[in-house]
Amino acid sequence: MTLAAPSYDDVLARYAPVIGLETHVELGTASKMFCGCPTEFGAEPNTQVCPVCLGLPGALPVANAAAIEATIRIGLALHCSIASWCRFARKNYFYPDMPKNFQISQYDEPLCTDGWVDVLLSGDTYRIEIERVHLEEDTGKSLHVGGATGRIHGATHSLVDYNRAGIPLVEIVTKPVTGTGARAPEVARAYVTELRDILRALGVSDVRMEQGSLRCDVNTSLSPLDSPVWGTRTETKNVNSLRSVERAVRSEILRQSTVLDGGGRITQETRHFHENTGQSTPGRSKEEATDYRYFPEPDLVPLAPAEEWIGQLRGTLPELPSARRARLQEAWGMSAPEMAAANAGALDLIEATVAAGAPPEDARKWWLGELSRRANEAGEELAALAVTPTQVAELVRLVASGAINDKLARQALDGVLAGEGDPGAVVEARGLAVVSDSGALTVAVDAAIAAAPEVAEKIRAGKVAAAGALVGAVMKATRGQADAQRVRDLILERLT
């Protein structure tokens, strides 16, 4: 007999999870961290390289001031203290996608420390404390050829692309997050979402998880509810979407509880998350972890951002997502749950639609309703839909003027998304205008009355509510291209 795996709720009734997140953000600077090479994504392999980022003998790094500035701005947005003096450090380990076999990073002197960010989860606020924000260089990318899975085991050879080597990378590390209980997976996701929105508002990165410009490692541990000590933690890597952040925490909680329930011990290890199965497999165990032999990078001078400069950078901070949400919620009269459903991307689109002339409630209805639904179906970001805020505002105008109704507007949207042009043009080309010609409508109304004499009788007897059935019949006959209110008026005109 096999025991059924315990349910998630059952597990959380007995165990308390502690989570921690390490997020890597590729900065969107024009040039790399320590050389002048460009940083564009998707170039031919090894075309954006030079002696410095290839680690050629003799080449030396020069720190990119724009990257330091961006890191300080991130630190400020996360309410961190900014170090008045700190150094880069070398993290030594051998790996072929790392040209120098050491990574220039920061060790015990990070640029930003001790911050926080509040995340909102259906009305509840969770404060996530930030341990540190530091700056480092990205590695190249290895492509393992000949194996079944694209992983190094079983591959016949490997190819390395150094275009990514040396792209500035900011690492944001939270302190352990406790007290979230069953909501740990949602909190993790909400934190990464909030962080992404902050980074986007700062304009420091394009924060695209699918392209790896935002990457997340999730630490999870579990301890019995009454235990004063935390359990052994694991680190799950390769978590490549917001949804996976949530799934990774949840699956790790379930996995660890199964081990613990069986009397086993959690191994401190790195685990690899699989997007397709939603499960993780063990990677490197921490017991055999590398000694990185950190020491201060002698090729670079210490960073000593002046107080005055930090003050200036504080002045350049944009309105941050939480403040903006509060302002827009007030201005647009949105409810808290509605607001929570709108990420920064959606707010941008709604704001632009309002700016293009649509009333806030209509703009909101379209983007959070119909358009969100379509984006979800397509598995895309809202902003990736082939419709602009200006086009949505035009749709809203066409409906308000009575030229089309909601149903026709959705058909017009189909046309816009299919690339047939602006809403007005689509309405014209597809012949979607409301049938307002009284002659044609009268014919349809008369036909509907004739086809349902018993309904007509009820209306004549005073049961006006029965008109709905006739309106439906007319709408069907006109394939929705009639103004329902006008149809109703015509029916009542004839029968009362």
């Binding site: 002696p51 290839l54 680690g55 050629l56 003998p57 003799g58 080449a59 030396l60 790094p61 020069v62 720190a63 070398r90 030594n92 051998f94 072929p96 040209p99 120098k100 076999n101 050491f102 490997s158 390395v160 000694d291 990185y292 032999r293 950190y294 020491f295 002698p298 090729d299 670079l300 001078v301």
Partner: protein, 498 residues
């Protein structure tokens, strides 16, 4: 031997500028000299005759068009192989870089070329600049032109031997713990280690990043100042480069040659003498101090209590940094690759390559440094060594409060016989005893010939505060003048013909 090769760099430049000799004739004379002597000296790893003649022709053409030429245009130079040169072998004396042709120029190389200086080729060195005799080269030892059975010093022994053997009027060396000054001392040359940050490190194949500096190896103090001015000054490609103009080095050298040091306060470092120093070296040093007094300087003794810890501190810091700097030699992108048979994995190919590509001394230091940086040992070794470094800097600061320059012998002994110390690393390391403090403090120091001991040259080291390299040149030029006056000829003129 052509008379042209006997001329120092400043004189050659004057001859070329006056039209008395073409740059091509000068280059050919030196190439001939190399061809005639290098089978015995083995100063060069790679002679670039075509490149040198092409560069010389370009100088002659510019001159014939009436263009203004730099003060060293057309003068040939010997370049240490640690300096990356575009398209030319740059092995740093190691098998692991055999066959690598760099796609770029070091800043030093670029500035040498821009000055119209004609690079003759790349000179031998201890592998990755780790050594004091050039015997650690993977390509065979270099011989001291004064006595072919002795070492030319190291690690810049190829450049020192080339200049002392009249194969080149001057050369570039690099100095991490004494690798310019010690070879200069044992071959009768002038060698200057600039203030750390005074000459760009961009394109020097790194040994120890916080210590490495390139500088001149020459037959006269004036030549050293001229070459230093040509290669030195701020370079945005090196973050540790000083963003300030160089002091007026050539002016200081010309000023010093007037042999008047009235009012100069000279400190003799007590800790850099005594046991382990050859009597002949100490006698040469004492004679130099007499000369300084005669030049009008006030000489006192000073104590730098922590200089005795320089050697252990150096042998923790330099190996630590080198263990990281040399990690990039992994067979993946350039240089040697051993054991890549399509069956062996990456890690095995990496370790077979490093096993075959690095010599014993390099391995010794990589292992030392890896250990010193390990977690649990870092504070006791690397951390402690950095504290010693601070104490040595403070010793210098205290001494410079009372003295304008400090002096010592450059080396405890004259050139030692080939093979004498290869099996005794501690004896080999002791060759740098006097030069290490200035390396650790990042301060400038020059070695100038001051006498002979049993027919072999002895060097005087003159140390100055950071960014006061001009003091080194001024005092060295005065000593040079006084020595020539005392002996009736420069020290190098005593060298037997090769």
């Amino acid at each position: 031997m052509s008379d042209l090769v006997r001329l120092d760099a400043a004189s050659l430049a004057a001859e070329i500028a006056a039209g008395n000799a073409s740059a091509v004739e000068v280059a050919e004379a030196h190439l001939d000299r190399i061809a005639a002597t290098d089978d015995r000296v083995h100063a060069f790893l790679h002679v670039d005759a075509d490149g040198a003649l092409t560069a010389a022709r370009a100088v002659d053409e510019r001159r014939s068009r009436g263009e203004e030429l730099g003060p060293l245009a057309g003068v040939p130079l010997a370049m240490k192989d640690v300096v990356v040169t575009r398209g030319l072998p740059s092995t740093s004396g190691s098998k692991i870089l055999a066959g690598w042709r760099p796609p770029y120029d070091a800043t030093v190389s670029a500035r040498v070329k821009a000055a119209g200086i004609v690079m003759l080729g790349k000179t031998n060195m201890d592998e990755f600049a780790m050594g004091s005799s050039t015997e650690n080269s993977a390509y065979g030892a270099t011989h001291n032109p004064w006595d072919l059975s002795r070492v030319p010093g190291g690690s810049s022994g190829g450049s020192s031997a080339a200049v002392a053997a009249y194969q080149a009027p001057f050369g570039i060396g690099t100095d991490t713990g004494g690798s310019i000054r010690q070879p200069a001392a044992v071959t009768g040359l002038v060698g200057h280690k600039p203030t750390y940050g005074g000459v760009s490190r961009y394109g020097l194949i790194a040994f120890s990043s916080s210590l490495d500096q390139a500088g001149p190896l020459t037959r006269t103090v004036l030549d050293a100042a001229l070459l230093h001015e040509a290669i030195g000054g701020h370079d945005p490609a090196d973050s540790t480069s000083i963003d300030a103009p160089l002091p007026a080095l050539v002016t200081a050298a010309r000023d010093g040659a007037r042999a008047d040091l009235s009012g100069l306060r000279v400190g003799i470092v007590r800790e850099l003498s005594g046991e382990g120093y050859e009597p002949g070296v100490l006698a040469g040093f004492a004679a130099a101090v007499t000369l300084l007094t005669g030049l009008g300087a006030t000489v006192t003794e000073v104590s730098c209590a922590h200089f005795g810890y320089a050697l252990p501190a150096y042998y923790l810091i330099a190996p630590s940094e080198c263990s990281s700097n040399l990690a990039r030699f992994d067979a993946v992108r350039y240089g040697l690759r051993v054991g890549d048979d399509g069956v062996r994995g990456l890690e095995e190919v990496m370790s077979l390559t490093r096993e075959a590509g690095f010599g014993a001394e390099v391995k010794r230091r990589v292992i030392l440094g890896t250990y010193a940086l390990s977690s649990g040992y870092y504070d006791a070794y690397y951390g402690q060594a950095q504290k010693v470094r601070t104490l040595i800097s403070r010793d210098f600061a205290a001494a410079f409060a009372d003295c304008d320059v400090l002096v010592s012998p450059t080396t405890p002994t004259v050139a030692f016989p080939l093979g004498a110390r290869v099996d005794d690393p501690m004896a080999m390391y002791a060759a740098d005893l006097c030069t290490l403090p200035a390396s650790l403090a990042g301060t400038p120091a020059i070695s100038v010939p001051c006498g002979l001991s049993d027919g072999l040259p002895v060097g005087l080291q003159i140390m100055a505060p950071a960014q006061a390299d001009d003091r080194c040149y001024r005092v060295a030029a005065a000593v040079e003048t006084a020595v020539a006056g005392r002996d009736g000829r420069p020290i190098l003129a005593a060298a037997p013909p090769v």
